[in-house]
């Protein structure tokens, strides 16, 4: 992006979020409508002010026989006629939607837009869900061998173990702490798929659960999930007229990469390093400034790799950091206090906006229950990974407008 581009301040108004989990009775559109209307109502703004709709949606074609989702989504909420765009960046689909929408408001194309995301993977069943997700790896040279997403991150765990000289059994125990922490928070979050479940896991529970892709067990993996999330974004002065606590967008990074065999050392995903650099530079901030993070813990090892590449810990130190409690609420940096993908669930197309929802609640000091609130959180950040590090998107949010440069 051009460094001298003049960007208007942009803020989040209302946010909406369905209960994540199994929703066989609700279509993709039912879920989207529920989240979108909640976001619009919470924005205290006339619906007619919304000039465009952006929707992140990954595999509706395979799970629900649905494509061309965006125009139907706009019509569903009474906005037929506005430009409506679907973005597809695998698990980062709605983060990409959010960033594109943010840039179009920041550059003055629109003043008010709606961004949402939706997916139905749990209702699709494990085999179809696994196949659908596998489309976001390299469909020819990775899929042909039968590589799945748990498999991709299982191979990343072995690379991590080899690179840093951490025996695999020891690494698996440290990885288990990601699952224990995120399930603990997810069990407290009423929006989470695993609300009131798995809140008191032990290391042995994670190590001994069913093997999915060696060395990752079921409890190393996020679940398949049905769900939707949505937010309204507007130019900052408009946002300030409609809500008491606008949450400002300070930075939005996006980067890309080819298959894992081209990237080779995925313990240092360059797409994430570049995306975070872009976001931090736009925001004029560093990792030390961030109070609360919702990052892409699709698997336990994925949280560790992300916590390093985002700059919160040195490379090779992320596994110890989680095992030592540095990523808990009250630790050096609170990571995934919503429960993350592991505890809250992962309705792929909705995940990016669900992360935004969680950070907005934190920065407004409105996180429920209160034990999930990060004390005095002012700056928050999201990280969403699509495919095998093919798409990485990072958003930095703040209680304050961008500082005068």
């Amino acid at each position: 992006m051009k460094r001298d581009l003049k960007l208007r301040d942009v803020a989040v108004l209302g946010v909406g979020h369905t209960k994540f989990g199994r929703s066989p009775e609700k279509s993709l559109m039912d879920l989207f409508g529920e989240a979108a209307l909640e976001a619009i109502r919470a924005s205290n703004i006339e619906k007619e002010r919304i000039e465009a709709v952006f929707v992140g949606q990954h595999v509706g074609e395979l799970t629900d026989g649905v494509s061309n989702f965006a125009p139907f989504a706009a019509a569903e909420i009474g906005l037929a006629g506005v430009p409506a765009v679907r973005t597809e960046g695998a698990c980062a689909s709605s983060s990409v939607a959010f960033r594109e929408a943010y840039l179009l408001v920041a550059t003055g194309v629109y003043d008010v837009v709606l961004v949402g995301g939706v997916e139905r993977l749990l209702s699709a069943g494990t085999a179809l869900g696994t196949r659908a997700l596998a489309t976001s790896a390299d469909g020819v040279y990775e899929f042909n061998a039968g590589l799945t997403f748990p498999g991709i991150f299982a191979m990343a765990a072995i690379l991590y173990s080899q690179k840093y000289g951490i025996p695999l059994d020891e690494l698996r125990e440290k990885m288990a702490h990601v699952s224990i922490k995120n399930h603990k928070y997810g069990a407290l979050n009423p929006k989470a798929q695993f609300y009131k479940k798995y809140g008191d896991l032990k290391v042995e529970d994670v190590l001994n659960s069913r093997m999915i892709a060696y060395p990752l067990t079921l409890l190393d993996c996020c679940p398949m999930t049905d769900g939707a999330a949505a937010v309204v974004l507007a130019e900052a002065s408009i946002a300030e007229k409609h809500v008491d606590k606008p949450i400002y967008v300070l930075g939005a990074g996006l980067s890309s990469a080819g298959g894992i065999y081209r990237q080779r050392d995925v313990t240092v995903p360059m797409s994430r390093v570049r995306s975070c650099k872009m976001a931090f530079e736009q925001a004029g901030l560093t990792p030390e400034d961030v109070d609360v993070v919702e990052l892409h813990d699709c698997f336990t090892i994925a949280e560790i790799i992300a916590s390093e590449a985002m700059g919160f810990f040195e490379f090779g130190e992320g596994a110890d950091a989680v095992a030592e409690g540095k990523t808990k609420i009250g630790g050096k940096v609170a990571i995934n206090p919503s429960g993350g993908l592991i505890g809250k669930g992962h309705p792929v197309g909705a995940t990016g906006v669900s992360q935004i929802y969680a950070i907005v609640k934190q920065l407004r000091n409105e996180m429920e229950p209160r034990e999930l609130q990060v004390h005095n959180a002012k700056i928050g950040m999201t990280d969403t990974l699509g495919g095998d590090f093919g798409t990485i998107c990072n958003i930095i949010l703040s209680t304050e407008r961008r500082g005068e440069a």
């Binding site: 489309t135 390299d138 042909n144 498999g151 990343a156 069913r210 080819g258 080779r264």
Partner: protein, 135 residues
């Protein structure tokens, strides 16, 4: 499209030939094929036969397979660094229960195995998978 289509690449692999694209600018080899050199981005490439050997960098045992491949599980997938440089994803020809961390660093030979096609896979006739055999 580069000089080597995915179909031509896999047809050769099924015959035991590992083909790559040698860059006329930097001399490095790209494999599997793509439109430009995977190292320097130049687009003057020539098809070459690569050495069919390499080293295992990482692996996994897939216990839960995607729809369409359920009958193949459990199976071992690994990444191999070929002796010409590029990394490949493929199947390792061992029993899943024999897989352990000791596999990392082992040398393998590279060939192709034909498996049943899958409805969403781009080649509707056949699916050829790199097959690695321990040396």
């Amino acid at each position: 499209m580069g000089k080597l289509t995915f179909k031509a690449y896999f047809d050769a692999l099924r015959e035991g030939k590992l083909l790559g694209l040698k860059c006329k600018a930097c001399g490095k080899v790209t494999c599997p094929p793509m439109s430009v050199c995977q190292e320097c981005g130049a687009d003057e490439l020539e098809v070459v036969e690569m050495k069919n050997s390499g080293v295992i960098k990482t692996f996994t045992v897939i216990h839960v397979a995607p729809a369409g491949l359920e009958n193949e599980a459990p199976y071992v997938v690994c990444e191999v660094e070929t002796d010409d440089g590029p990394w490949l994803v493929g199947r390792l020809d061992i029993k899943p229960e024999e897989a352990s961390i000791e596999l990392v660093g082992r040398r393998v030979t590279i060939t192709g195995q034909e498996l049943p096609p899958e409805r969403h896979y781009p080649d509707k006739e056949r699916r050829v998978v790199p097959l690695f055999k321990l040396s």
